[in-house]
Amino acid sequence: MFAKAMVKQSLPLFILCGLGAVFAGSTFAGMASIFQEIPGLIVVIPAIIALRGNISTAFGSRLGSAYHLGVIDAENMWNNELKQNIIGSLVLSFLVSIIIGVLVYITSLLLNVQPDPIKLIVIVLLAGVISGVILTLLTIIIIYLVFRRGYDPDNIAGPALATFGDIVTMFCIFGSAVLVEVIL
């Protein structure tokens, strides 16, 4: 892998990703009124964005390693390796969402903010699991397209997944916050 090819493959995507991140940020700014209604929700945002980025880029990077090892290919996508990876990332999103909800509640209590624990944990769990499922599907599609085009999956998968992850997660948390606010 030469630096020139690396920059050539990555740079257009990085510019697109910057625009995508601005879009995610606009959604974030549009949620400002909900943050004042549900105390403690704003604490969740960096944690859940990072969670999505971490889990899905790790998933993409693992698939990239599998591609370089010759274990997985465009013709040979649906094998046991991919299934194990999918199960692993879904279980991780479920567990980590619960951990985020509990930790945010505890730290908010320590800092004299009084959030509603059930509301907070339900919002985080819904957003985490729904965005996890969407992003897993998206990862498989992106990785398949990258394999077909013959690019290096390591260059493409990371930034694309991180940015799509941000956008999808912002929408999921917006939707689940509105839903929980209406139901509970």
Partner: protein
């Protein structure tokens, strides 16, 4: 089968928990400055952007290094042997540091031969 979901969860969860602690620290800072952030939405917009740039470049580098380690050709040095063994991975992970050390010492010897000679003399006396 290289990957199993139990291993993935077991290896990722402790690190992710540490990451969540740090992120929640960041989130509590946002909570403390909430009035200012709502007053100036530009800062709210720029949060995912700034988060994204570092994460993107870092994750690309990490993914490429991980692939290089898996294949057995560490990308920082020319590949000699594309064999996937644990010995080679450990060996290759430390090799760039030794290579750097060697380059630095060569540089020192080339441009400051006096120091190198003195070092050599001390070494010889010691022996």
């Amino acid at each position: 089968v290289i990957y199993s979901w139990k291993n993935i969860v077991k290896h990722s969860l402790p690190l992710l928990t540490v990451c969540i602690f740090i992120e929640i620290f960041a989130g509590q800072i946002l909570q403390g400055k909430q009035e200012m952030l709502v007053l100036f939405p530009v800062f709210l917009i720029s949060i995912p952007v700034i988060n994204g740039v570092g994460g993107n470049i870092g994750s690309v580098l990490g993914a490429r290094l991980a692939s290089g380690l898996h294949v057995g050709s560490h990308p920082l040095i020319p590949a000699e042997n594309l064999v996937f063994t644990h010995y080679r991975i450990k060996h290759y992970a430390f090799r760039p540091f030794f290579a750097l050390l060697k380059k630095v010492s060569q540089f020192v010897v080339y441009y400051y031969p006096n120091i190198a000679q003195q070092q050599l003399c001390i070494k010889n006396k010691g022996f």
